[in-house]
Each structure stands twice: as C-alpha cells, then as structure tokens.
Symmetry: C2
Subunit: 116 residues, 2 copies
Amino acid sequence: MNTEEETSIIIERNRQELSRGVITLALLTILSAPHYGYSLQKELQNRSFEISQDTLYPLLRRLEKQNLLISEWVVEDPRPRKYYRVSVTGLEVCRKLREEWDTLHTAIGGLLHEYE
Amino acid sequence: MNTEEETSIIIERNRQELSRGVITLALLTILSAPHYGYSLQKELQNRSFEISQDTLYPLLRRLEKQNLLISEWVVEDPRPRKYYRVSVTGLEVCRKLREEWDTLHTAIGGLLHEYE
DNA sequence: TGACAATACTGTATGTAATACGGTATTGTG
DNA sequence: CACAATACCGTATTACATACAGTATTGTCA
C-alpha cells in the first residue's frame, strides 16, 4: 500500500504525464505567433494548461535544440525578452501531432464511452 | 537545420510523447478487467494505440510498483501468463486522469479551432 | 516432423527529458 | 521603500522510456 502522500504524488505525476504531450501541441500551435516564455506561460494558463517555469523553460530550450523553435532576444522591450516562434520543421511536427491527436481522441472517446 | 533522418526521429519522439499519457489512461481503463501483457498489447493495437513490448512491459512494471496495478501469475492457461488488473488506487487515478482528459480535450479543442 | 512465426515474458543498460534547486536582476505597485 | 510580479539561466537529480539481449513455449503448415 501507499501512504496518502505517496498516492497524491503518483496521481500528480500521471496527471502531468497526460498533459505533457498535449501541452507541447498547444505550445507549438500558439507559437505560430511569437511569444516569450513568461507570456506563453500566462497564455497557456488562461487556456487551462498548467505549466510551471521549471517545466516550461527547459521545454522551450529542448524544442529549440530540436530545431522546432527559433528564438530571438528583443531588447527594445521594457526589459530584455527572448521570443520564440515555430520553425518550418516545427510547423510540420505540429501538423503531425494534430493528426495523432485526432487519432487518439477518436480512440479514447470510443473506449471511455464503452467502459463508461 | 536537421537532416531528414533527424527530423523524422524528432517527429516520432514527440508523437510518442503525446500518446504516452493517453495510453496510460487507456490501459488503466481496459484493466478494469484482467489482461496479461501480450493480450493487452493486442487489445490496445485493435483500438489504434500502438505500443511496443519494450514500452508496454516496463510500463506495467512501473504501474504495479506504484500500486496502481495488481498482478497474478496464472499457470492453468496453455502457458503461464501474468495477469494485471487495476487496484483501488489505480481506479482512483484512472478517474482523475479522465477528468484531466476532459479538461485537456476542451482546452485543446478551443485552441485548435481558433488557430485553424 | 521439422522449421518458423507467434506467443509471452524477464533483466539490465542506456539515453532522454522533466523537474528541482538555486540563483540573478529588473519592473511595477501600494 | 518594501515587496510582488516579471523574466530568465545553469546544472544536478530523478524518473522513465526505450533498446537490447535473452529464454522458452505453443501453434501452424508444408
């Protein structure tokens, strides 16, 4: 058996695992227009995607390293900000993820309905 | 820039990341009835959830370690098989994931529609 | 009956990535 | 002037998927 404490950590972890991939899709979609990290976090939160700085910034770095995002420092703003937007490759990935999403959506829909 | 090879690996990785969490939800749902690893894999595949042995078996081990699944060896079958089913905790996690799914589903639906 | 695909799992090494942690510094607000 | 909000970075730790190599049985069909 787990303690209640352990159980809630496990729930949280699995909940985050579920949202992780979806957030990546949301992020790539939103970044068709440029955003900087902090504004993107707020934007995601407004749309009910909870993501912490500890997760978001490393995610942005990773996606840039994979060449799905392009970044640019803008120093003209009230303070320096690093803007990200999708690359051509990123857009392609975004489209594929959307297809995958549709497949999953259909599949899980049927399943959940069936198992009520 | 990435080579085409690299790009397709990156696409594949992100595609799998998207499906990972969803597959966990599907798996917990299906395991309200007992299944053994191999039959579960086939069942998931029939429902368009692609998962390899290399991913499924370690996933089952992990979920059992987290006490979300209970396993039992059955030797009366044509050959020994290890059956898994959800525990009480697992069922609770499953319900939470379903709620999370609904939230994500709504959120991403609005987003994708908007950015169409 | 002999070969080969399908079934059904295990253990452990490796690699990827999230998350945690600690930090820095500026800007807005009461 | 204090303090919350903004806006980021680097690196250590931990979790986890995936890869790999293996073992062995059962069913099929020529």
